[in-house]
C-alpha cells in the first residue's frame, strides 16, 4: 500500500492563522493540533470522546477534537486554548477567572474546560436549551445560566482533580 492514497490535503484556520497540511486520513483534529502544529494546549485524556480534555471550538461551536477526522474539516475555523486570549497579552476573562478561583489543580482538563465554557456561553446566548432548562421557557431567547445550568452543560468535561465547584464559580464570574 502506498501512503499517498492514505493522505489528503486540508486547509484550516487555527487561532486565526491559515494552515494547509497533508494529513493521514486517520488523523483526528486533536492529533493535527498536537503533532502537526505543536499546539499541545489541547489535551488527550481518552481519545474516545469520553472526557472533554480535547475540547476546542470549531466554527465557534465546542467539539471533542479527538472525534473529528481532520480531513473533514477543510475550511474550518478552529480556536484552541492558545487562541482564546486573541493576540493580546491579556488572557481571556475566563482564563483570568480560572486563576482567581483556583479552578484547577493539575491543569490537564483545564484547556478543555475553558473552551467548553466559551462554547457554553455562546450556546446559552443563542437560546439552546439543556436538559435542565425549564421546558416552558420561551424558545430562542437567551437561557439564563444558573449553577445548575452550568453544571449540566459542563458535564462532558471531566476533572479528576475535582475542581468542579470552582470551575462553575469561574464561569459565573464572567457571566456577571
Amino acid at each position: 500500500m502506498t501512503s499517498a492514497s492514505h493522505h489528503s490535503e486540508v486547509t484550516l484556520r487555527v487561532n486565526g492563522k491559515p494552515h494547509t497540511l497533508r494529513v493521514d486520513n486517520r488523523r483526528v483534529l486533536l492529533d493535527l493540533l498536537r503533532e502537526d502544529l505543536d499546539l499541545t494546549g489541547s489535551k488527550k485524556g481518552c481519545d474516545h470522546g469520553q472526557c472533554g480534555a480535547c475540547t476546542v471550538l470549531a466554527d465557534g461551536r465546542r467539539v471533542n477534537s479527538c472525534l473529528l477526522l481532520a480531513v473533514t474539516l477543510d475550511g474550518s475555523e478552529i480556536t484552541t486554548v492558545e487562541g482564546l486570549g486573541g493576540d493580546g497579552e491579556e488572557p481571556h476573562p475566563l482564563q483570568r477567572a480560572f486563576l482567581d478561583r483556583d479552578a484547577f489543580q493539575c491543569g490537564y482538563c483545564t484547556p478543555g474546560q475553558l473552551c467548553s465554557a466559551v462554547g457554553l456561553l455562546a450556546e446559552a446566548a443563542a437560546g439552546h436549551p439543556s436538559h435542565v432548562t425549564d421546558p416552558a421557557a420561551p424558545s430562542g431567547r437567551p437561557v439564563p445560566l444558573d449553577r445548575t445550568e452550568i453544571r449540566e452543560r459542563m458535564s462532558g468535561n471531566l476533572c479528576r482533580c475535582g475542581a468542579y465547584p470552582r470551575i462553575v464559580g469561574a464561569i459565573e464570574d464572567v457571566i456577571e
Binding site: G45, D47, H48, Q50, F98
Partner: protein, 701 residues
Amino acid sequence: MTGTTGTALGAPAERREGRQKVTGAARYAAEYTLPGRAHAWPVPAAIAHGRVTSVDTSAALALPGVLAVLTPGDAPRLAEPEDHTLALLQNPKVPHRGWCVALAVADTLETARAAARAVRVHYAPEPHDVTLVPGHPDAYEPEEAGGQPGRLEQGDPAAAYAAAEVRLDVTYRVPPLHNHPMEPHASTAHWDGDRLTVYTSSQGGSTVRSVLAGMFELPEDHVTAVTEHVGGGFGSKGTPRPDVVLAALAARRTGRPVTVAYPRRHLPTTVGHRAPTVQRLRLGARPDGRLTALLHEVTTHTSRVREFVEQAALPSRVMYATPALLSTHRVTALDVPSPSWMRAPGEAPGMYALESAMDELADALGIDPVELRLRNEPDREPGSGKPFSSRSLVACLREGARRFDWDGRDPRPGTRREGPWLTGTGVAAATYPAAAQPSAAAARALPDGTFTIRINATDIGTGARTVLAQIAADTLGAPLDRVRVEIGHSDLPYAWLAGGSMGTASWGWPVHDACAELASRLAAHPGPLPAEGIETRADTTGKADADSPYAKHAFGAHFAEVAVDTVTGELRVRRLLGVYAAGRILNARTARSQFTGAMVMGLGMALTEHSTLDPAFGDFPEADLASYHVPVHADVPDIEAHWIEEDDPHLNPMGSKGIGEIGIVGTAAALGNAVHHATGIRFRELPLTPDRILAGLLSEG
C-alpha cells in the same frame, strides 16, 4: 513555631504555573515534540495467565512507517528491577490480562496504533483465578500492610466481643477502583550515547532516575528525569510505571526519541488500581457507647507479580479507644493486574467500613453519631500506645456539627419526604498519617536581591512551586516575588515523591533549613554579594525519618446531606462539608482545592465508581471513562472545606500535616450514612448506584 518568621505562609498565593496552565503553554510528558520523535503503542496480553509462545510481527513491520516491534524474545535486556511490574518484555510469562507482550514503534501515532493491532501474539494459556473470596485457600496474612505489621492484636478481642453487652457484626465491600488521572501515563525518552533523558508523568522524578539507572545499568548521573507538569496521579504515578521503561527500551532500539502515551483503556491493567476489599467489622460496646472490642478484618487481593496490600485495617489502630483490638489483613495472590496506591490507600476503604459500622452502632444504641465518636476518643494512639502529637478530631466534629446545623437532627431514618425524594444527613470521621521523608534542597541568594530554591519536587496539581516559595520567603523574611523555585528535574537536589500526603512536609523541611542557614549567612555577610551569590544546602536524612515518640495524624470530620429518589433510585448529594485539622495550613487557596477535590473523589467512590474483575476474561470490563464513571459537574454540589489550625511543634519546621488525601477518607461513609438516614436501609457495598438503591427500596417495601 520554629523558624518561620515572615508572613507568606498561609496566604492564598496564586499558583505560580497557573498562567501557563490556563493558556495551554504548560507541557506534559507526551508533549515534548523532540525532532524525529516516534510513537510507541503497547500490545496488551489477551489471556489472564500463561505464556507467549510466539509473536508474529511480519504484518506490523510491513506497514509503512513502522520502525520496530519489540517482543519478549528480542527486547533489550534489563537488570531485574525491585518492582517486577517494570520487568517488561523480558520473558514470555503472562501474569495477568493486559500485561504488555509487545510494543509497536512507528513514525506516527496512527501507524503505531495500527501496527500494534497487526501484531499476532500466540499464547499457551493456563487456568486463571481472579475472584476474591473470603476464605480463599491461598489467602495468607501478610507480614506488612502499608509499612505496618499486617496483624495487630491487643487484649482478647474475641472474648471481649463475645462478652460485650451490645454487638455489631457487619461486612462492608469496596470494589476495585481506578485512579484515572486526567493525563494518561506517558513518557518521552531519548538517548544520547549512554545518556538517557526521560520526560515522564510521574509523582517523583528522583525515583524514576534511580530505577532507570538500575534497570539500564547506568550511573545515576547518566539519567535525567524531567517531570515539569504532571496531570494528576493520585498514587498511580507514585513510582515509575511501564510507560517510562517502554519508552526507554523503544528509544534505545530505534535510536529515535520515543513517546509512549498509554491509551486510557490500558490504564486499569497497567498502572495499578485500588484493590477490592471485603471488610468484616465487629464492634462490642457498652450501652453508653464505649467500645469494649473492635475487630477489623480485611480480605483483599494482590497480583502474582508483586505483593501489595490495601492496608484498610490500619485506621482502626488510630481512631477509637478500646481495651480489645484486632486489626488484620488477609491477602490472596490472584491472576489479576497489580494493585497499587490510590488516594488514601487503606484509609479510604478502611474508614468507609469503620465509620459506617460506627454509624450502625450509634443507630443501634440510640446515641447521636457525633456523640458516639466523642465518647470513644482515645488518650493515646490505640495501636502504638504513643501520645498524639496533636489530635483535633473532637474540634473537627464540633465545628462541623455547628456549621452543618447538625444539632437538633431528627435521628429517625426514612422519615423526611419531599415528593418522591427521601432526604437524610450523615457524618463520618477521617484520619490520615502525617509523615515526612528525607529530601535535599539548595537555596541561593543573588546580588540582585532575589533567591533561587532548587529541589526535585513534583507538582502533580498540589501547587508545590507556590507553597515552597512561600516557605522560602517566610524563612528568609523576603517578599514572595523575590523567590524563584525550580522543581521537576532530576539534576536538582534529591527529593521524595509527591505521595502519601508527604510531599510538602518532605520538601518544605530542607527548603526551610537551607533558607534558615542562608538567612544567617546573609546576616553575617558584609557588603555586596559575589556575582554567583551565596548558596546553602540542606538534607534532612536522619531528621525527617527519625523515630518519633509521637503518633502523628491529621483528622477530619465529614458531613453530608443526600436526597434519594424513591421512584428511580437516583441519589443526589445536596451538601458536603468537611472540617480538617492538619497542623498549619500553608496556602489557603491551594489547600482548599486539595480538600474539596479529594471530597469529589470520595463522592465518586460512594456514588459512581465501580469496577469489576471479569471471571472469564480476567480483567476489568469497566476500562474506559464511559464505563467507569468518575464524577462529573452535574454530580457535584457546592462543597465546603474548613480547617482548624493546629500548633503542633512535633512535625516539621512548618508545623504542617499533609492534606492531599484526608479529604477522600470519610466522604464515602458520610454519604452512605446519610443514605441510611434518608431511607432506613443500610447498603454495605459501594458504589450506591440507582440499581442497588432501587432494589433495596423495593425489597424493604
